[in-house]
Amino acid sequence: MAAALVFAHASRPAAQQQASAAQQTAPAQAPPAQTAPNPNGQAAPVAPPVPAYGGLVIVLNPAHGGTDSGARGENGVAEKDFVMQFARAARDELQRQGYHVVMTRDDDSNPSYDDRDAASNIYRDAIFISLHVGSTGTFGDARAYYYQFWTPAPPSAASNATAASANPAATPTFWEDAQRSYTDASRRLADLLAAQLAQSFSGSPSASSAAAVRELRSVTAPAIALEISSMSASNPERLTGLAGPLAIAISRAVEAFRPPNSAGGH
C-alpha cells in the first residue's frame, strides 16, 4: 500500500524535502519518522529509530501545537491542548482494543503538515485520523471529513493512481496527490465515524463531509479529520468531558472499518 513517493512538494524547504524524500523512499516497513522541536518551535526530522511494525497502525494527529495554538477560547484556552487530550484518550481506548497506535506529536511541538503525513506514510497499513476543535457551531457538534480534491487528477497522476492499484510497490505517487487514490476508503471511514458521532453527540450530522483539510492531502492511507465544536462556546473547559465519548466513537468507527488486510495488526 505504501507507494514510493518520488515527487516532493515544490514549496517545501530543501532540507525538509531531503528528509521527506529519505522517509518516503524507505521500505514500506521502515521505522516511523520521528520529529523533535527545534528552538523555533518547528519540527525537525531526526534519525528514525529501529523498531518496525508491519500490521495495521492507527496514526492520531493532534492538530496545531507549539506556536500554533489553533482556535482560542475563553480564559485563553487553546485548541492545541484540547486536541492533545482527545488524542491521548483515543490512543488509550484504541490500545485497549488491541490496536497499534502512534501519534504525530505527543508534546507541545508543531510538526509540519508534510512531517505529519510522512509519519503515517512509512507504514504499509495505516489509518490517519486528525483531531480538531472548531471555533464555530453548537457546543458538542462533531463532524467527520475526508479530503476534497477540487480539480481532477492530472493525466500522469491519474494513470499512476490506476497503476498503483495494480502494483502499488512499483508505482510512484505524486506527493501533492497522494490521498487521491484513497478518497473512497477515506470517505467510507469518515462516514462510519460520522455515524458514531451522530449517536454520541446529538445534533451532529450522520454523514461525513468533503473538505480540503491540508494535512490529509499527502497521506497514503485512509485519512480523515474530526472537528468538534467549539472553542467559542462559553466555558470551553467543558470540552474536556467530551474526550471519553469521542475516543469510543473513534474506536468503534475504526473497528467497523478495519481493512481486510489489517488482520496482522489487530
Binding site: 514549496s11 492538530a63 496545531h64 500554533d68 489553533g70 482556535a71 482560542r72 485548541e79 503538515y113 480538531h132 476543535v133 472548531g134 471555533s135 464555530t136 457551531g137 453548537t138 457538534d141 463532524r143 471529513y145 476534497q148 480534491f149 477540487w150 480539480t151 481532477p152 501533492e176 450530522p205 454523514a207 461525513s208 463531509s209 468533503a210 473538505a211 480540503a212 483539510v213 491540508r214 492531502r217 479529520a225 472537528e227 465544536s229 467549539s230 472553542m231 467559542s232
Partner: protein, 220 residues
C-alpha cells in the same frame, strides 16, 4: 457610632455614588466609541472596496452564496448591476458576497476582508487576491474555512461562466491554508469545460445547492 465611623461611611457612600455615575458615563462612552469604530469601518470599506460600476452594467439576477445555517452555504438571488467584462463582473459578485449578506449570521467572509486584485488568465484561471484579513480574521476551523471557500468558488462559478478554475491568494502570496485548515495551495475547479452539467465544484453532502428555492433580495 463614633464620629470617625460616620465620616468614613459618608466618604464611602459618596465614593459609591461617584462610581455609579462614572459607570453610566463610561457605558455611554463605550457605546459612542463602538459607533465611531463602526463608522470608521464603513468609511474604510467605502475607500478600499467601493461598489464597482462599468459602462456595460446591466441589472440582472445574481446568485450569491451565503451561509444558510451553521454548516451550509446556499444561493440567494440578488438583483445586481453586472458588467459584461468577466473581470469586473467577478469583482462585482465578490463585492456583493463580502459586503452584502442579508444578515450577520449569513456572513462567510470576515467583515474586514477586501479583494485586493482579481485577474483572469487566458486559460480561464481566475486569481483572486484577498487582504490579510481573510486569513487573520477568519474563525479558525475546518467548517468555517470550508464555507468561506465554498461561498467564493460557487458565487464565481454561478455568475461568470468563462471561469474555469480559481486560485486564492492572500496579500499577493500563495498561502498553505486559509486559516490553518483548508488547503489553498491548489486550484478550485469552477466551470470545467469537459463537464458542462457539473459546472459547480464537487459538492459536499451537507452543502447542497438550493437554486430553485433561493430567496430573492432587491438590488443593493
Amino acid at each position: 457610632m463614633s464620629r470617625n465611623l460616620k465620616i468614613a461611611l459618608g466618604i464611602l457612600a459618596v465614593a459609591v455614588l461617584i462610581g455609579l455615575l462614572s459607570l453610566r458615563g463610561l457605558h455611554r462612552r463605550i457605546e459612542r466609541l463602538s459607533e465611531t469604530q463602526s463608522s470608521e469601518e464603513q468609511a474604510r470599506r467605502d475607500v478600499l472596496a467601493p461598489p464597482i460600476f462599468t459602462p456595460t452594467d446591466v441589472t440582472m439576477p445574481a446568485k450569491i452564496f451565503w451561509a444558510a445555517g451553521a454548516d451550509k452555504v446556499a444561493p440567494v438571488v440578488v438583483e445586481l448591476p453586472l458588467s459584461a467584462d468577466p473581470v469586473e463582473r467577478s469583482k462585482q459578485v465578490l463585492h456583493a458576497l463580502m459586503t452584502g449578506p442579508p444578515t450577520p449570521d449569513q456572513r462567510t467572509i470576515p467583515a474586514g476582508a477586501t479583494l485586493l486584485a482579481f485577474y483572469i488568465q487566458p486559460d480561464g484561471t481566475a486569481i483572486a487576491d484577498f487582504s490579510d484579513a481573510l486569513s487573520s480574521e477568519m474563525p479558525s476551523g475546518i467548517l468555517s474555512e470550508q464555507m468561506a471557500v465554498e461561498s467564493i468558488a460557487r458565487t464565481l462559478a454561478s455568475n461568470v461562466a468563462t471561469l474555469r478554475r480559481l486560485k486564492i491568494l492572500i496579500h499577493g502570496q500563495e498561502a498553505e491554508t486559509l486559516a490553518g485548515h483548508v488547503d489553498l495551495t491548489g486550484f478550485f475547479d469552477l466551470n470545467p469545460p469537459a463537464q458542462p452539467h457539473a459546472s459547480a465544484p464537487p459538492e459536499s453532502p451537507n452543502l447542497r445547492a438550493m437554486v430553485d428555492t433561493a430567496p430573492r433580495l432587491s438590488a443593493n
